[in-house]
Symmetry: D2
Subunit: 352 residues, 4 copies
C-alpha cells in the first residue's frame, strides 16, 4: 500500500498541463483521494488574484480528470516564489505507482465549515483547526502520534467582515500573521503538544512559547474554511515524512539533521540523499525573531519596502537550494506558533 | 606593513557612528589612504536617495576625521540589503593595527574624470575603466598579476543625458546592467584577461564570453566617474584576498573552494575559517543565466514585480549566510561580464 | 435599431455576478453580437495574473449565457485601477432595451489570427491592426468615416519569443509602450489619418507626429491577436460617440468640449450632462511628453519607483472624476501614436 | 509689515540651489524668521531616506545663508510626489519683498521637546500638539481666531520604541495614520474647535466626529517633536490664507468656493485667480471614507499593492491640477481628525 508524492511544474498559476499528464500517467482509481499542494507565483499583495486563478485552474483540472468530489480532494496553495523558488506543485495520490511512491506514506484531508467572522482569530478558530487535523488523521487512518506534517490553510479575518465585532477582535483583522498563528496553535492542540484548555483569545500573537512543531500554516483570503492535509508515517515503515524545527533561517545543519537523522556527517548525508533523487518534496517554514535580528545582527526584513515574507522566502530559497542543489521546494514565510520564536520548520518526503 | 580591513555597522545609510569610533581607535596617520566599501539599505529604485545620503554622511565623516583629501580616500557604495543582508561597511586602512590587519593585503584607489555622455557604455568607457584599474594598481604598488579583487563603481548613462546621442547608444540609456558590463570588460582589459583591441561598442551585452574573473562592478546615478578600489595580495605573504568564479548562485561548494583552496573537505574547512573569525570580509556577485533558469529549472527572477537584483541579492544572502553563519557580507546582483554566463564571483579577505 | 452600452460593477476580476444579471435583464436575442470592455484591478506587473482570471471569468460567463461563439463576442480588458478608478465593465449589446440604449450607436468586432513573433512591432503589425479595424467596421456596418472610437488590444512581443529575431526587433521586446504605439499607427491607417505607405518598421517609437485621433490601444501578454471593438455613430442620428484629443492630462476644458461640443460654457454643459446621467461611458487615454514635464513643470512620472502608467491613471482619475463627479470611467495610460505628443484621447458614449 | 510666500523648485530632495537663489534675492534681515515647507519625492516607504537627505540639505542651506538658529527657522517636509505633483517647496519669510509678499499674511513657528514614547499617540500627545500651536500663534503675534492654517509634523511611535509600553498603546505603534490623527485633535484643541477635556487616549482613530478644520498634519520618523508652522490672517487685511474643508477628494467645487468665497461662479472665479498668478501656494489634504468608497462607488485605495496615500496623492493631484492648471501644489494624503470623515482640507495663500 502507501501513497505517492509527485512533483509537477507550472509555467503560470493556471498552467495545469503537467498535472494533467501526471494524473493521466498515474491513473488513480476512481474515488481515490488526491491532494495538491502548490507554490505559485504572484505578487502576494492584497490585490494578487493569482490565487483565485490557480485555484480555479487546479479545481477544473481535477474535476475534468474525474476527481471533482470535494470529499476526496484537497488543494492547498501558497503564493510567492521570490528568490530562486521554482513555482510548481506536488500531487499526493493514494495507491499510485512508479517513482514517487512511498510505501510508508499515509495522508488524509479534511476541511471545516466556513468560519463565522465572530469565530475568527479567537480560541474557537484554534479549536476548529484542531478538529480539522483530527478529522484528517481519521481520513489518513493514523493516530496523532503518526503525524509527520500538517499543511493547513487558515482564513484571514477581513476588515470588511470585522465591522461590528468586539474591538479586540477587530484589531486582529487583515493580519495573515495572526491567521497563521491561531491555526498553528490549533495544530499543537491536535498533536497533543499543548492543552486546549490553555488557549484563550489572547494567546495568539502574545504567547510565543506556545507552538506546534509539526504544522505549517498558510493564510489567504481565498477560503473561509480551515483546510488541512496531513502527511503521516505509516507504522512499520521507515519514516517517509521527516520533520523538525530549525533554529533559524540559516540553520542548514538543522535541516541536514532532519533529512539524515543519526548520520555522522549530516550535511554530507543530506546532500547525498538529494543528489540521488531521494528527496521527493521539501517544505520549509521560515521565521524570524520579532526584533528582526539573525545571529545577533540586524536585518531589514521588518523595516523595508518589501513585505517581510518576501525577504524570508527569497533568503530561505538560497539556503535550501544550497543544501539540496534544487530550486523546486515549497518555501513559505511566517512561522508564528509553528516553531520556537525566531526558528522555523523543515520537512521532507524521503523515499530512501 | 600591510593593511587592514575592518567591519562597521550602520543602523541607517547616514549612521556613521561606528565608522567614527573605528577611525578613532585605529588612529591612522595623517595622509594615510583610506577606502570605505558599504552595503547600504534602500529601495534601490530610481528614486532611492539613500545613496546620496550615505555618500554625504560618509564623506562628511571622513573629512571631519581629517581624511577629506579625495586623493587619499575612496568610498564605494552599493544599495540594496534584501534577504538577510546586514547593512554596513568595511574600512580599508593602510598601516592600521589590531584584529583585521592583514600583513599580505595591499590596496589602491583611483578614479577617472567624469565621463562625457558620448563616452558612456561604449568601448571608450571600457578603456577608461581599464585605466582606472591600472592607476589603482600603481597606487597599491602592485602589478596586475597581484590583483585579488577590483571593486568598481561605473556610471549609468541617464536617459536625459542621452538626448542627441546616436540611436544605438541612446538605447543603452538607463541600464545599470550595461553600465556594470562595460566596466567588467574594462577590468578584464586591465587584468590582461582580454585584449583591448577585441572590444568594440557592440561587445557589451552581446558577447557574454568576454568577462573578467577578478572584478565586481556596481552602477548608480550618484557618480559620473569610474571609481575603483583594488585589493591585492602582496607578494611573499599568504593570500589575503581569495577570489574566484562560481558556477551559479547556489554554488556553495565553489565558494568553499575559494575560501579554503586545496582543503580535502572544502565545505568543512571554509565553515571552520568563518567560525574562527578568519573571514574578515566576504564579497559576492550573483548572476543568472539570461533565460532565468537555475540548475535547469525556471525561476521568476526575470518575470516578477521585483527587480531581478532584489531576488538575487536576497537568495544569495541565504546561500552565503548558510556557508559563513554570518549575515554581514557584501552581496550584489548582476554579474554581467564579471563572470561566465550564469555564474558569479566570490571573494573574501581572510586573515588565516 | 441601435445598440446599448451598459455599465456593470465587478468586486474582483472574477466577479461576473453583475454582468450575469445585466444579460439576464437585457435578454439579447440568440446570436446577437456582444462586446465587453472592462477595467479591472490588479498590480499591472509582469506577474499580474488578474488578466487571465478576468478573461476566464468573463468568457465563462458569456458562454454560460449562450454567447460563447467567438464570432459574435469580443472582450477587451485593461488592468490597473489606481487612484479613484472604480473597477468594472461595460457591455455593448446589439438590439437591447431600456436605459443605456443609444439609437445612434453602432459597433463592430474583429480579431486577427495570432501574430507571428517576426511580425510583431513591425510595419506588418500595424497593417494587421489596420485590417482588423476595417473588418470591425464591416461588422458594424459603417464606413471608416463613421468611426467614433476604436478600442484595440495589441499583443506584446515577449522576450522569450524574440530569441532569434533580428537585433533591431529583439530590442522592442517586452515593451507594452511599443505594442500600443504600433497598433495606434495601424488604427491611423484604417481611419485614413495616415498613409500605410509611410509606415516602416522604424516608425513606431520615433515618429511621434504619426498618430491616430480615434483609437485607444491596450497591450498585454494575454493575447497574441490584434483584437478590436469599433464604436461608431450611425448616420442620421445625434452623435452617440464623442471623441477627440486633449492637450494634456490636465485638460479638463478639452474633455468638456468633447462632451458638449458647441456649448457656450462647455465645462458647465459637460458637468450638466454627467449630472443628468447622460454620460453612459467615458474613456480616457492619458499621455505625457517624453521629458516628463506637464505645463512646463517637472513630474516624477518617469523617474520613480512606480510605473509611469500608474501615476498617469491615478492622476487622470482625479481629473475625470472632478469633471464627471463619477469614478466609474475607463482610464488607461500610454497614448503613444494615439494622440499628439504629450496629449491624450477622450471619448464618451452620450445618450443625450 | 506682512510676510511672503515664495515657491522654489527642487530637482531632487537635496537640490537646494533654487532656495539659495531665493534667499539671496530676498535678502531677509539677520535674525528674520524663516520657514520652509517642502513636498519632496521619494518612495514614502519605511526605508525611504529621502526625508533625512532633504532635511540635511535644507538645514545646511539655511545655516550657510545665516539662518541656522533653530529658534528662528522651521522646516516641515512631506514626502511623496505621486501623480502629477511637481516636487518643490515654499519659503515663508518675514519682511521680504517683491512678488509673493502678502501684506495680510502672518506666520509663526514652534516646536515641542522630543516626545517620550509613553506620551506618544495618547491624550498627552494631543495636548503637546495644542501647546505648540499656541506657541506658534504667539510667535506670529496672532490670536487663535486669526489662524488660517496650521501645518504640523507629528512623530510616529516606532515599534522599537513601543517595547514595554502598555498593550493598548503598543498597538498604535508604526501608524502614521494615528500620528496624524492625534495631532489633528491637538490642533482642534488649540483652535478652540473642541474641548481638551473631551479627549482621552481612546479618542484617536475612533471618534471620527472630533476633528479640526484648520490643520494639516504630516508624520514621519525623522523627528520626535511636534513641529508647527501657523499661517494666519493679520486683522485688517483681505484674507491672505483661505482654508476650508471639502466634501471629498473630487470636490472641485468646494475647493473653488474656498479660493473664491462669495463668487457667483466660484469655479470660473477660482480658475481666474490661478491663471492670473494670484494663488501663491495651494495645500490639499485628501481623505477617504473608511469603507474606501467615493461618491458611493468602490475604489481600490485600501485594497491594492499601493499604499493608500499614494493613490490619494496622485488622484488629488489631478483634481487640483485641473482646477489650477498648475502642478506645483502641496498635496498630502490622510486627513484623520483634520476634516469630516471622508472629506479633506484645502488651503491657499492668495495675493489678490
Amino acid at each position: 500500500m502507501g501513497a505517492g508524492i509527485f512533483r509537477f511544474e507550472m509555467s503560470a498559476p493556471d498552467d495545469v498541463g503537467a498535472l494533467e499528464c501526471l494524473i493521466a500517467s498515474l491513473r488513480p482509481v476512481p474515488g481515490a483521494r488526491l491532494a495538491v499542494i502548490a507554490k505559485t507565483e504572484g505578487t502576494a499583495t492584497l490585490n494578487d488574484f493569482s490565487r483565485a486563478l490557480a485555484l480555479r485552474a487546479l479545481s477544473d483540472c481535477l474535476a475534468t480528470a474525474g476527481f471533482g468530489d470535494p470529499a476526496c480532494t484537497q488543494v492547498i496553495l501558497s503564493t510567492g516564489s521570490e528568490g530562486v523558488i521554482t513555482p510548481g506543485g506536488w500531487l499526493l495520490c493514494e495507491g499510485g505507482q512508479g517513482e514517487g511512491m512511498l510505501s510508508g506514506l499515509a495522508f488524509g484531508i479534511a476541511r471545516s465549515e466556513p468560519l463565522m467572522p465572530a469565530e475568527m482569530i479567537t480560541a474557537a478558530h484554534a479549536r476548529i483547526a484542531a478538529r480539522v487535523v483530527a478529522e484528517a488523521c481519521r481520513d489518513a487512518g493514523v493516530g496523532r502520534e503518526e503525524i509527520g506534517l500538517v499543511l493547513m490553510k487558515s482564513p484571514v479575518l477581513l476588515r470588511e467582515d470585522a465591522v461590528g465585532l468586539p474591538d479586540a477582535q477587530r484589531k486582529r483583522a487583515n493580519s495573515t500573521s495572526l491567521a497563521r498563528g491561531i491555526a498553528g496553535i490549533g495544530i499543537a492542540i491536535a498533536t497533543g503538544e499543548i492543552d486546549a484548555a490553555a488557549v484563550t483569545d489572547d494567546t495568539v500573537g502574545r504567547e510565543a512559547g506556545i507552538f506546534s512543531r509539526r504544522g505549517m500554516v498558510f493564510s489567504g483570503p481565498e477560503t473561509r474554511r480551515c483546510e488541512a492535509i496531513v502527511l503521516a508515517n505509516a507504522p512499520g515503515y521507515p519514516a517517509a515524512v521527516r520533520c523538525g524545527t530549525i533554529a533559524d533561517l540559516l540553520d542548514i545543519d538543522g535541516m541536514a539533521r532532519i533529512l539524515a537523522p543519526g548520520a555522522a556527517d549530516p550535511l554530507a548525508a543530506a546532500r547525498g540523499l538529494a543528489q540521488r533523487g531521494f528527496v521527493r518534496a521539501a517544505f520549509l517554514k521560515a521565521g524570524l525573531a520579532p526584533d528582526g535580528r539573525l545571529r545577533g545582527q540586524r536585518t531589514t526584513i521588518f523595516s523595508s519596502d518589501l513585505e517581510p515574507d518576501k525577504h524570508m522566502r527569497a533568503a530561505a530559497s538560497g539556503v535550501l537550494g544550497a543544501l539540496l542543489g534544487d530550486t523546486r521546494s515549497f518555501i513559505s514565510g511566517g512561522a508564528e506558533h509553528q516553531a520556537p520564536p525566531g526558528g522555523g520548520l523543515f520537512a521532507a518526503g524521503v523515499s530512501e
